[in-house]
């Protein structure tokens, strides 16, 4: 090893390499319909990165032609056996629009949109033919600090 240090456990295994790893320094949660900004004052994109993680959940198709999916899991319910599909028929997993301004330390988010067979789908139009599956999401900020 030309520089730095090594930390070994009692078996001599390397615990943490000297070139370091990354830390998650902040997390922000958003609804898929959010059109807003958040200030993350301690994040510097020159030193790290941000990651978008949608919180997808399977949902039940509730009609034969409506392509509406039951989105409410606030209580137990019996899954329909008449229209039993869960996330089917040309559905996409949609992602939000997210951008970061490193000068102002402001994260800007807005609902995503996907055009499917000529029809634009957004979180607010979810459920139309070929609808996309949208999910609320979190943005985590990773930094080599």
């Amino acid at each position: 090893m030309a520089y730095g240090y090594n930390v070994l456990d009692h078996s001599g295994n390397l615990l943490e390499p000297s070139f370091g790893t990354i830390r998650i320094i902040a997390r922000e949660f958003f609804l898929c319909t959010d059109n807003t900004t958040r200030t993350v004052s301690n994040f510097d994109s020159d030193k790290g990165y941000y990651v978008i993680k949608p919180h997808y959940t399977l949902k039940e198709r509730t009609g034969s032609t409506s392509y509406a999916f039951n989105r409410n899991f606030s209580s137990a319910f019996t899954v329909s056996t008449t229209y039993p599909q869960m996330i089917g028929n040309t559905n996409w997993l949609g992602a939000p629009n997210v951008s970061w301004n490193n000068s102002t330390k402001v994260l800007t988010v807005s609902p995503g949109s996907i055009t499917i067979n000529g029809s634009t789908d957004t979180p607010t139009t979810h459920g139309t033919y070929g609808g996309c599956d949208w999910a609320d999401y979190e943005v985590s900020f990773w930094e080599f600090k």
Binding site: F19, T21, I24, V79, Q85, T90, W134, W142
Partner: protein, 332 residues
Amino acid sequence: MAYGFSLVDDYGVEQFTSDGVLYEHSRGTGDFIDMLKSATFSGSFPTSPAKHSINGAVEPGYWRFWYFQRPYQRLGSSNVYSHDIVDTGTSTTYTSSDQGTHVNYWGNNIFVANSSYITGSAKAVASYTNESFLYESIDGTSDNTNYYWDLFWKLPSTGAHGLNTFYQPYTYPYSSSNPSGTNGYFMPRLGTGDYHEWVLASTKKPAKTSAYGFECYDASGNTIYSSGYQKRPIPVHAFATFTATEVEDCVKNGTSYNRTLRKSITTPWIGGHIPYCYYRLASTDNLDVATITVSGSTCTLSRVRYTMSNLSDWGYTQFNYQDLRIVIADGI
């Protein structure tokens, strides 16, 4: 820093602070789902993937980790057929009598089933009114508000098309004995073998041994680093971003894009969320899929073209372009 000492490496990274560091929590091998090849939903829907009871990360339900290598499926009117798919350049072809009406792209469609396999009840989950806001959809644990969880997969040299996690609140689909839980799936390039390793990571600190080593404390006496952690940190060393515009150019026109990584990677693992992006022109048999590879200090976005017979009778041009944000670890 007002007190103590600091060790900083040649990247300027402070070492003895483990807050926010991802540590390995659990690891294993994904289960291969081949349902799209057998494609007999009514008769042989798989009972795998196996459920994994992972201590500390299973409330509610179980995790499952699986991968598949059939990125395209065509369902017939009776929902019993699918087409196999072949990598460009192979001599294998597949002919189906399917003249059905539905097309499904795995990676976008998580699950489609008939009534034989969904007879259970959804699990009540806390008091959330919007399933999308369930923190449990990532990790199946209420700890998710306090700790970040992520799933990494070992990246084959031939690349991968996507990875994701989702929460499955239903008693089914896999079998009556498998309760609800969290799923993590991985889409390696077709033909990359049947052994794909995963590591579940969390910022939740591992258990410590106490007989040796050293610890660092903050001003309040909280442990911020211990050499006695029984799990190693996840060595995340690089990231790569590709815009949706680049993805579109890649899958439509075959343009490759490279990103120079912060550090050369010996054994790449990838994590985060990578959406499955593809382009299929109407009336062709081609399915062009965005693929991520990592070699040394380069992360590449390139196109893989799959072909299959009878795809051209589906008249829609379909595509999905999204930003790709790749988290890259080395040798987990």
